[in-house]
């Protein structure tokens, strides 16, 4: 008996309720229309200049990943999956683990991307997310460390970790040493977690950075890593299904992207068309205390906008910042607390 459910219970909360109000006077996006819109303070999709799109969040849907989250920012859809693996810690910082974010913009999400290695845009976004993670100290990497190692006599450090399976008595694989390691209490393993945070864009409609960062935060809050202990006798790592540990995030940065038109108009949360027509862009990353973690300002257009606008007390700016503030608070309400599995509407 096959049953088919027409209510999307699991992954994609498909927001049929977004109604796009298109102005009857224009059926093509073009730059001159934007000045028309500015006069009436409305955008082609019906939003105000500083208004953000409806956001949906669906957490913990991918069972094979240690943590996952799906974010829909209007039509822009990003799915973040976090998988933890074991590795030796970095040589220069043996007490730390790794957090490796990557944003993938596959040909699935838009016709502008081709099959093959990551496009420039994907590389830029990945690097930006990586910088945000580092500069905001998103997670204490030392908490990802499992075991520290021991230097053998002779000054030669042997890094290895043992694989134990139920079938075979286990073996040690080692690299970086010329001799097979001893077995015994001296040879403990250096081991830490690597969190691969892979964000896939499933639908590209602008503002990838914001959506990726929300997805990353929500997925990390959803992560449950299996408990690991080092068996003293064999030096093997042993994981168990019970006793999963959630991650502790030390900071929760949220990004907001704007595009600039002509040094005068600032649009928040741009769609793909707006991004394509804009003359400049700026992304501001703020943490929960309101401190700015990072500002990304590529290109020269709009460069004068920021200091001028931020220095003057014009109504536009304070309105923008207030809008930004309330939007950020709404997001934090969800990502701050323990995020159980489920779907949320952030409006």
């Amino acid at each position: 008996m096959i049953s088919c459910s027409w209510y999307p219970t699991k992954l994609l909360l498909l927001n049929d309720d977004i109604k796009i109000r298109v102005s009857s006077s224009c059926n093509k996006y073009s730059f001159c229309h934007f000045s028309k819109f500015k006069k009436e303070n409305i955008r082609p999709d019906g939003r105000e200049l500083g208004e953000f799109r409806a956001t949906l969040l669906n957490v913990g849907t991918i069972n094979t990943a240690h943590g996952s989250a799906l974010v829909k920012l209007g039509n822009t859809t990003i799915l973040c999956g976090v998988k933890g693996e074991f590795a030796a810690p970095p040589v220069n910082e043996p007490k730390k683990g790794y957090l490796v974010p990557n944003v993938e913009l596959p040909p699935l999400c838009s016709s502008q991307f081709k099959v093959g290695p990551p496009s420039e845009q994907a590389q830029v976004v990945s690097q930006l997310i990586d910088d945000i993670v580092r500069s905001s100290n998103l997670i204490n990497l030392e908490s990802l460390n499992i075991a520290e190692g021991v230097v053998l006599s002779g000054g030669e450090s042997v890094y290895f970790f043992c694989v134990g399976t139920g079938v075979a008595p286990g073996f040690a694989c080692c690299w970086g040493a010329t001799k097979l390691p001893e077995r015994g209490p001296k040879a403990l393993s250096k081991l830490s977690w690597v969190l691969h945070c892979d964000m896939i864009c499933l639908d590209y409609d602008g503002n990838i950075v914001d959506a990726s960062l929300i997805a990353l935060l929500a997925a990390l809050k959803n992560v449950l890593l299996p408990a690991v202990r080092i068996d003293e006798d064999t030096g093997r790592a042993v994981t168990s299904q019970e006793g999963s540990i959630p991650l502790k995030l030390s900071c929760q940065p949220v990004a907001t992207s704007f595009v600039v038109f002509d040094d005068t108009i600032l649009l928040a949360d741009p769609t793909k068309e707006e991004e394509g027509l804009a003359t400049g862009a700026v992304t501001v990353v703020v943490n929960e205390e309101g401190d700015i973690c990072s500002v990304h300002k590529p290109g020269k257009e709009g460069a004068l906008y920021l200091p001028r606008k931020f220095m003057t007390a014009s109504g536009d700016v304070s309105r923008d910042l207030r809008k930004l503030d309330s939007w950020l608070r709404k997001h934090w309400r969800v990502v701050k607390d323990d995020v159980p599995t489920g779907a949320y509407d952030l409006d």
Binding site: I2, C4, Y98
Partner: protein, 285 residues
């Protein structure tokens, strides 16, 4: 392996925590004594399916399918001009790109497509070709992009179904819809629509195998066949029969999904009314 300079890379050598499980049990029984499987299904039961077309706003056609935990999304772009002039031909071309998301399988997959993904891409292309009216778009290609977001068994079958729904959503002319079904064969049982553990458990032992079949129900032809494992000829022939029946059972669901998506595209007001009626009487297929 050469360092991937275009992505943020972590350490070169990593191992999955699944190799370190404390109590990794060996071969376990797939079917309980009373004839039910681990998740309570019978041998011939297919898991609940959810399908929706038109999920990617940027694509000409798209579809999303969930078979219990297996989740696949597909987007179709085209018909558009062939990228390379050498590919000019008087019939259209289907180009399929298939990828498992890195977090979709219990063991993490790499970003670069491996041989299994390339083979699946070719199989899906050949499964869909007989159904598409290729002569209707000469010198053009249709790009089918598939991502498996979570793999809990029957990923290939789900991808074939998803891509044929996406092709219809993109209004590419077709002779028929392609359905697909997977069957896991053990020495004693034939399990339809296996989960990931059922598909991979002791698959390399004798008299065990997996058969995936792509089928065109209206013209009663098989467009794709993949068998792995070690099976006798009679078992394979019986498996084909059972797979065909499974494919035919899925066909009405696909039909219904396409019907709804077409309705919602062209008559949105009526669709809202219908939806509110359905909210009061949920239907089961």
């Amino acid at each position: 392996m050469p360092v991937d300079k275009k992505r943020i890379t972590g350490p070169e050598v990593t191992q999955s925590p699944l190799y370190f499980l404390e109590d990794s049990s060996g071969i376990s029984q797939l079917v309980n004594k009373d004839g039910t499987r681990k998740d309570g299904r019978g041998e011939n039961d297919i898991r609940p399916i959810f399908m929706k077309a038109g999920v990617v706003s940027q694509a000409q056609g798209s579809a999303y399918i969930e078979i219990a935990n297996t989740k696949v999304i597909c987007a179709v772009y085209g018909p558009r001009q062939v990228l390379r002039r050498e590919d000019f031909s008087m019939t259209g071309i289907l180009k399929c790109e298939f990828k498992f998301a890195t977090f979709s399988c219990p063991f993490r997959r790499k970003f670069q497509p491996d041989v299994e993904e390339k083979e699946f891409a070719l199989i899906i292309e050949q499964a869909l070709s007989p159904a598409v009216c290729l002569h209707k778009f000469p010198k053009s290609q249709v790009d089918i992009n598939i991502r498996v977001l979570e793999n809990d068994g029957s990923a290939l079958a789900a991808s074939i179904i998803c891509s044929s729904v996406a092709l219809t959503d993109a209004a590419v002319e077709m002779y028929d819809i392609v359905t697909a079904c997977t069957l896991r064969i053990t020495p004693e049982h034939m399990l339809m629509d296996p989960s990931y553990t059922e598909e991979t458990n002791s698959i390399n032992c004798e008299s065990n195998g997996v058969v995936t079949m792509g089928f065109l129900p209206s013209i009663n032809q098989t467009s794709s066949l993949l068998q792995r494992g070690h099976l006798s000829c009679d078992k394979v022939l019986k498996a084909l029969q059972i797979c065909t029946e499974g494919c035919q059972r899925i066909y009405p669901l696909i039909h219904e999904c396409i019907r709804r998506s077409v309705k919602s595209k062209y008559r949105p007001a009526e669709q809202d009314k219908e939806k509110s009626e359905e909210d009061q009487n949920p239907s089961k297929g």
